[in-house]
């Protein structure tokens, strides 16, 4: 082992990342070379100082911030709850639409129809209007508005 190899392996020696054979070589080199031993001692002291500067325990209250973020961004706890909520919302829309269709059908069934023809440009358009007590010029769309 030479000085360059000793330097290259020094941190790994301190971190116990060397094979047994290399560790023995490193120790033999330090025993024979005072400067190498001094180099190891200064690295060891700096390593111990760095270890003692490790941050303490995480403060309390960290989870509250995380939970708040998970609440708005995270997945729901049970997907069935979400599905039930969605179905309830859709169900009320479907009910409203059914009511409207029933009303329209009733209107159409009760009313009398008049058929008129008008010429528009070169075409002849057929317009059907329902005759009721409600506004005379009611088309189906207008009846919806008045229902």
């Amino acid at each position: 082992m030479n000085r360059a190899e000793f330097e290259r392996h020094l941190s790994a020696y301190i971190d116990d990342e060397l094979t047994v054979e290399l560790r023995i070589e490193m120790e033999a080199f330090m025993d024979a070379d005072e400067a190498a031993r001094a180099e190891f001692d200064s690295h060891q002291a700096a390593w111990e100082a760095a270890q003692s500067s490790v941050g303490g325990a995480a403060p309390d209250g960290l989870w509250d911030g995380i939970e708040a973020s998970l609440g708005s961004e995270g997945k729901s706890e049970t997907s069935m709850d979400d599905l039930a909520l969605m179905m309830r919302g859709l169900a009320s829309e479907v009910q409203d639409l059914r009511r409207e269709v029933q009303q329209l059908r009733a209107e159409l069934a009760e009313g009398e129809w008049e058929e008129g023809r008008e010429a528009v440009g070169g075409d002849i358009r057929v317009r059907s209007t329902i005759v009721t007590d409600r506004p005379r010029h009611g088309t189906v769309e207008q009846l919806r508005k008045f229902s």
Partner: protein, 186 residues
């Protein structure tokens, strides 16, 4: 030996179970905070980074496939958050003692007071030396020297070989040692 989240807990997290994730948080909170604290240099930044890391972990836990340990996967997320934040701005160096109750011994005798001052100054110099390291060296130094991880795990977190970790950690350690040497010799 460091506690690890077991596969049942992880599976529950992957189903979106917040309570299971709270348990995961309790297992890893101190080490993730320690990593963020050492990288950022301030308690305030470390708190934000720790929260960001855990939120990111929860959002991405569905992608965890067990190719590394869960801890390694989590530390990688935290390390990436720290690195991204550091690239965005310079870390703020916070004096030891500004953080409440950090490394403060009860004052009883004059000798104790002097010891505490010496200790405080040494810790400040260590933090300054670590803060001066290039970002890539700082992360490896923190993971290896301050968190005591093995080179293999460090390599998995930062995405390099064990030999590369060995070289970088030695360079980082040499810089920190050189920064501390005049103080320690005096």
């Amino acid at each position: 030996m460091e506690a690890q989240a077991d596969i049942v807990l992880i599976a529950a997290c992957q189903q979106g179970d917040h309570r299971a994730f709270r348990q995961v948080f309790e297992i890893y909170r101190d080490r993730v905070f320690s990593l963020c604290r050492s990288m950022s240099g301030s308690d305030e930044d470390a708190e934000d980074l720790t929260q960001d890391a855990f939120v990111a972990a929860f959002k991405g836990v569905g992608g965890f496939r067990g190719e590394s340990s869960f801890g390694t996967w989590l530390y990688r997320i935290a390390a990436n958050r720290c690195s991204a934040e550091l690239r965005r701005r310079k870390p703020r160096f916070q004096e030891i003692g500004e953080a409440e109750g950090q490394n403060v011994l009860p004052l009883s005798t004059r000798g104790d007071q002097e010891q505490q001052l010496v200790r405080k100054e040494l810790l400040q110099r260590v933090q300054a030396a670590v803060a001066d390291l290039p970002e890539s060296q700082r992360l490896i130094f923190v993971l290896g020297t301050q968190m005591g991880m093995r080179y293999r795990e460090i390599g998995e977190i930062v995405g390099c070989s064990e030999d590369a970790v060995k070289v970088r950690i030695h360079r980082a350690r040499k810089r920190v040692r050189d920064a501390l040497k005049p103080y320690m010799e005096s």
